[in-house]
Structure formats: structure tokens, C-alpha cells
């Protein structure tokens, strides 16, 4: 799965998520990626999220919207992402990752799997990583 979130100079956000799904998946199986609220969500009143990971688990907790719910409640984006990913792990034993940007320009890349390639561009600089310690 791949995804992107962005905040533009007008203060608007957007997300995009695209995937081939799971290897050896049942024909016709659809995961979270095309489902608004799970595979991603964007509302300029809050921020934007793109999700990746175990699709059925992400669908069950509406991961992207859940993260933005926590942002609405006042959590920082990283804390909101950790809280929602932790809930998914404990509630349905699902693992995954997310990228989040708030409408104020705060951002986070978080995951519970072993790794997730990510990159962020802001202020003319590109930050990137793959493992947790990068």
C-alpha cells in the first residue's frame, strides 16, 4: 500500500491511498484502502490521514477517522496516531501504520509493524525513514 497526505498554503488538506491489497488474497477481497474513514480521511477542519496495514482490522476500527477524532479531542497528531494504532492492536490484534498531518501543519508517521518507509517534505527539507530508530 502507498499513501500521501498534504496541507497546502490555503490551509486545506487531502489524502490519497492506493494498494494491490494482500498477496494471495481471495479474488474480490477488498480491504480498507478504498474506504473513506478507514484507508484515509481528510477534513480541513482537522487534518488528513492515510492508512496501511491489515485491512480488515483497519476497517473494524475506522482507523483514519478514529485518529482525527482524537485530534479533535485535543491530542497531538503523534499521540492520536499512537492511541488509535494501540487500540487497533489491542482490540482486534491488527497491525499497521499511518501518516497524519494536522491543519496547523503538525505531522507524524507512526506504525506498529516492524517497519514502514515514509518521507515528509516541509520548509524545503525532506525527512525520511524506514525503521523505528531512523
Amino acid at each position: 500500500t502507498v499513501g500521501a497526505v498534504a496541507l497546502d498554503s490555503n490551509g486545506d488538506v487531502a489524502y490519497a491511498t492506493s494498494t494491490g491489497g494482500l498477496m494471495n488474497k481471495m479474488v474480490g477481497r477488498v480491504g480498507d484502502s478504498p474506504c473513506v474513514g478507514s484507508g484515509g480521511y481528510a477534513d480541513s477542519a482537522m487534518g488528513a490521514v492515510s492508512s496501511t496495514g491489515h485491512g480488515e482490522s483497519i476497517l473494524k476500527v475506522n482507523l483514519a477517522r478514529l485518529i482525527l477524532f482524537h485530534v479533535q479531542q485535543g491530542k497531538a497528531v503523534g499521540e492520536a496516531a499512537d492511541t488509535a494504532l494501540g487500540y487497533m492492536k489491542s482490540k482486534v490484534k491488527g497491525e499497521g501504520g499511518v501518516i497524519v498531518v494536522s491543519n496547523a501543519g503538525d505531522w507524524a508517521a507512526k506504525w506498529t509493524t516492524e517497519s514502514m518507509p515514509w518521507a515528509a517534505a516541509q520548509d524545503g527539507k525532506v525527512h525520511f525513514g524506514l525503521h523505528r530508530d531512523e
Partner: protein, 167 residues
């Protein structure tokens, strides 16, 4: 507002070491392309589409060219896009034989009153919008073909259930 773009290349439980650097380069390339759109005054929606299109075209990632194979050895892809200005959104699922599902998802958002088109309907819509149809084989990489074979052998050896590891 200070523009920012983030991309991801998929959460994973194991990444072969020889692939790591190519994944890092791929996400940096995609973020840079998205950021360029923003710096030139483009909208967030244009930036995320540009970034994801680059990742779909990169065979190292599981989307578009390089998408993993289903149990029949073919590619079925899902994608969605959303504009935070007005919550408009578009998506496709079980899409086949197109290079960039994210661009088709955006067309669903902009050219129809619907949010999600699937399979045959998505294909008909793509055709009506002039989206080029490509041979499904063109999306398949040799690595994904081998990985499917390995997965099928593992499945056969571990359990007779055809549902194992199929999501």
C-alpha cells in the same frame, strides 16, 4: 500556511535488506514531487495525487505497477482520494488493467455523483473517461510472481485451507 506533504510506502513485517535503500529513495522521490506541487501553488489534492502516482509507477511498492497478486495470479487494485475542503471523495476497488488507480479515483470524485466504483463498473467508467487500458501482465513483477508461488507452497504445506492468508 506552511505547506507540507507526507508519504508512506506501506507497513511491513519484513523488508529484505537489499530492498531498503530503493524504498527510501522511492518515498523521498514521491514526497519531493508532492512538495513541488505545493510550492508552485498547487492544491493539497494535486500534491497527494502526484505523490501517489509516482509510488504506483514504482515497481518496488504494492500499488499500480508492482501490486501484489491475488490467489488467481492477477492484480486487483483499490484506491481512494479525498479533498478536505468539502469532503468530496472518490474511490475504486478491484480495478484491473490500469496503471494509476488513484487517478481513476479522482475522476470518480470529480466526474460522478458517487464515492466508489467497483470492478466491472470501474472498468467501464475508466473506458468512458479515456483512461488507457493496459495488459494486466504489465503490472506484474517477477518478484511478485515468485512471492505468490512461495506463499501458495507455504499455504499448501501448512494447511489445506484455501482461505489461509487471503485476508
Amino acid at each position: 500556511m506552511n505547506p507540507v506533504v507526507l508519504v508512506h510506502g506501506g507497513a511491513s513485517s519484513e523488508i529484505p535488506q537489499d530492498l531498503e535503500e530503493r524504498l527510501r529513495q522511492g518515498v523521498v522521490r514521491a514526497a519531493t514531487a508532492g512538495y513541488k506541487v505545493l510550492k508552485e501553488g498547487g492544491r493539497a489534492l494535486d500534491a497527494v495525487e502526484a505523490a501517489v502516482t509516482i509510488l504506483e509507477d514504482d515497481p518496488e511498492f504494492n500499488a499500480g505497477h508492482g501490486a501484489v497478486l491475488n490467489a488467481e495470479g492477477t492484480v486487483e487494485m483499490d484506491a481512494s482520494i479525498m479533498d478536505g475542503r468539502d469532503l468530496s471523495s472518490g474511490a475504486v476497488c478491484a480495478a484491473r488493467c490500469i496503471a494509476n488507480p488513484i487517478q481513476l479515483a479522482r475522476l470518480v470524485m470529480e466526474k460522478t455523483p458517487h464515492c466508489l466504483l467497483t470492478s466491472h463498473g470501474a472498468a467501464k467508467f475508466a473506458c468512458a473517461m479515456g483512461v488507457p487500458v493496459i495488459p494486466g501482465e504489465q503490472l506484474i513483477t517477477e518478484r511478485n510472481r515468485q512471492d505468490l508461488e512461495k506463499e501458495k507452497q507455504k499455504t499448501d504445506a501448512e494447511t489445506p485451507s484455501p482461505q489461509k492468508n487471503q485476508g
